[in-house]
Symmetry: C2
Subunit: 178 residues, 2 copies
């Protein structure tokens, strides 16, 4: 385990039984209280992705707006919002995907990605990969080139990685829980 | 009007009749597509607030997570999430406030602010000031010292400024619409 991964794990708070009984929630608000570590994370991500010539980063509502945007600013590239249904004001593309119970819809503005744009998708957490996979479908719909997925945290035991590998093999998470 | 304000207004897209008939929505996703301007905004905010010895920034879900966090990283201070009811996992303080129809609740983690911490509240938009005012009540509840409010956009005609002035006179918005 790298030193950065150790530091991130030490900064994350685990909250038992949230959002429901038996789930051990990984709370990043305690990481956000460590500005030096947050800057280290952003610097590390910028270093990791700078050679890939990414055109834009898509961040997933709402915790994906944090490091997604700070990384985009560091790389000096546009930042695109992927949001839940009904939040974006302009013309949209939507993708519906299945959750444990029922379905959910994720949306992006139709003009946020141009054909052949190289796109990185960022969220704070990789769980089952449902939402990130749906956002990847939106990138495809706009003929963007998916460069990879980035997450702060990966819950490996939920096998989201296997789901996302159909869309890109470049899946990087900074702190893995087994 | 300053050059920065002109640039921000030029970058913001106005969308008619969102979220309902008669409302001219200010869409910042087109601003997020201009990384140079986004970096200019963050730099300007850091310059504006650096002498105030702010201990932490509270950003309001979810667009307030964007520049709120990038400013906190620039100033090298903690970032605190103010979220809608039920989103935060740990022990919380809550404040209920009135909307046009019905009420809404905003929450913060109980350990996110310590007594006498100097706090800046940030959101992308000042409309009626209801949410930002509620967050200021949470800051007070934790005995924080409210240094001021910051917004990218202010809809002056909704008089949110008058509402917030009861809590702090330091209200800065970068682009005002009359």
């Amino acid at each position: 385990m790298s030193q950065l991964e150790q530091q991130i794990k030490a900064a994350i708070r685990e909250v038992e039984d949230f959002p429901k009984k038996g789930v051990n929630f990984k709370d990043i608000t305690t990481l956000l209280a460590s500005p030096e570590l947050c800057n280290q994370v952003t610097d590390y991500l910028a270093e990791t992705y700078k050679s890939l010539d990414i055109d834009l980063i898509v961040g997933i509502e709402s915790r994906g707006f944090l490091f997604g945007f700070s990384l985009a600013q560091k790389l000096n590239i546009p930042f695109v919002l992927a949001r839940k249904k009904g939040k974006l004001p302009f013309q949209k593309i939507s993708y519906s995907y299945e959750l444990e119970y029922g379905t959910s819809i994720v949306e992006m503005h139709v003009d946020s990605i141009q054909p052949r744009n190289k796109v990185l998708i960022h969220d704070d957490l990789l769980a089952t990969g449902g939402t990130a996979g749906a956002v990847a479908e939106l990138v495809k719909l706009r003929e963007g080139v998916l460069v990879g997925f980035n997450f702060l945290i990966e819950l490996s035991f939920l096998n989201g990685r296997q789901t996302l590998e159909k869309q890109s093999n470049n899946i990087i998470s900074l702190a893995k829980y087994f």
